[in-house]
């Protein structure tokens, strides 16, 4: 049943003997259905996990719910349902609380990406702090520098907005700021990528582009749709400025990628962005489009100085090494 082969992971330099693919994890298979029933019936005692642990000699399951049969490290990416409550239904809030409570009570360790999330976990949840440790692992994303070196630049002098159209991503403020720019006859180009859908529909996407159309701002925006991560990285490297107007982040991957490329960034002044920002970051209130428009004008005439890729790569390798070491420290195999 198990087939150990995967071109994708080969590309990512992962040993192929590490990959165990099965219909058990295929969303629409009967095996997956049985797997989910088993998970619901037995939860913490799920015998399938016992089977995998014994068959493959697993020491720790990472980024996974707790299990009786093996040490685990659970991941709590964010607590958005506690701060932006209107984005969640009553049932979603209950489900997330239940899920994170289980993690906090039964896991060996918890990983979060920001100090802000850690503080919120301590504020909103009751758990034994001596038993379950919360670790902040500042994320350093994977970047394939070879792919940037071989990439043909297609767009010139643009501000990059690579956010999926989730409710909290706040694309609309950028359109509102552009309305001001248009009145002041200031031209700019924004390149957008990311899935049109939020969890349920295309409401935010429709709201944004209806506003753009209504105010005749089409010349300001170029939406490329959902693109591969490889393309995201290239668009980011060749951009003039990275913008993230979000109302909430657990930890922004694109901001980290922007830092790797020493990019000029303009970010909403939320706690996590303040925690993440670099010396080349300016902040704005995500409710204030006037402030954003002023800061965009201020940045307009700044030249895009892309740092030499070899130099960036050298620095990136050090960051990744530290990231890897910190991650393995959290797994703490000596316990």
């Amino acid at each position: 049943m198990f087939r150990k082969r995967c071109e994708f992971f080969k590309k990512k330099n992962i040993r192929t003997e590490s990959i165990i693919s099965s219909r058990l994890f295929d969303k629409n298979s009967i095996l997956n259905y049985l797997n989910r029933i088993s998970g619901k019936l037995f939860g913490y005692y799920n015998p399938l996990i016992f089977y995998f642990v014994k068959k493959y000699g697993i020491d720790v399951i990472s980024h996974s719910p707790p299990s009786r049969w093996c040490k685990n490290v659970a991941w709590i990416p964010d607590l958005q349902h506690k701060t932006l409550k209107k984005n969640f239904t009553h049932n979603e809030k209950i489900r997330r609380d239940k899920l994170f409570n289980n993690y906090l009570i039964n896991s060996s360790s918890i990983i979060t990406s920001s100090l802000d999330t850690k503080k919120k976990i301590i504020k909103y949840f009751k758990f034994n702090k001596k038993k379950t440790k919360i670790h902040v692992l500042n994320f350093v994303p994977f970047v394939d520098f070879k792919k940037i070196k071989n990439y043909e630049k297609k767009y010139n002098s643009y501000i990059y907005l690579p956010n999926q159209f989730w409710n909290h991503k706040n694309h609309i403020i950028v359109a509102k700021a552009c309305k001001i720019l248009r009145l002041k006859r200031v031209n700019m180009k924004f390149l957008l990528t990311g899935n049109r859908f939020n969890q349920k529909n295309t409401e935010q996407y429709d709201l944004f582009f209806n506003y753009v159309k209504k105010n005749n701002l089409q010349n300001y925006f170029n939406y490329l749709g959902f693109v591969s991560h490889e393309k995201v990285i290239n668009l980011l490297y060749h951009s003039k400025i990275l913008i993230n107007p979000s109302f909430y982040e657990g930890w922004s991957t694109t901001v980290e990628e922007g830092k790797i490329f020493n990019k000029q960034m303009i970010l909403s002044n939320i706690n996590v962005h303040l925690e993440q920002g670099s010396t080349r970051t300016i902040y704005f209130n995500p409710d204030n489009y006037l402030e954003l428009s002023k800061k965009l004008i201020k940045l307009k005439n700044k030249k895009n100085k892309n740092t030499n890729l070899d130099k960036l790569e050298k620095n990136y390798k050090k960051l990744r090494k530290n990231f890897s070491d910190n991650y393995l420290k959290i797994l703490n195999f000596d316990d």
Binding site: D26, K27, P77, L331
Partner: protein, 52 residues
């Protein structure tokens, strides 16, 4: 040699989370003291192939 397992799920709606997990995994692939076991579906693998 210690063995770390991941249960990998692929979904465009959660592209950020997917990239996060890939980044974690790739950060330890070169470690000789670590054995990795990544569990994923055939469907996810094929989908990822198309996307990359």
């Amino acid at each position: 040699m210690k063995t770390i397992a991941f249960f990998f799920k692929n979904d465009d709606r959660w592209a950020g989370e997917r990239n996060y997990l890939i980044s974690i995994i790739t950060s330890i692939t070169q470690r000789k003291d670590i054995s990795l076991k990544i569990f994923c579906s055939e469907r996810d693998v094929n989908f990822l192939k198309k996307k990359t």
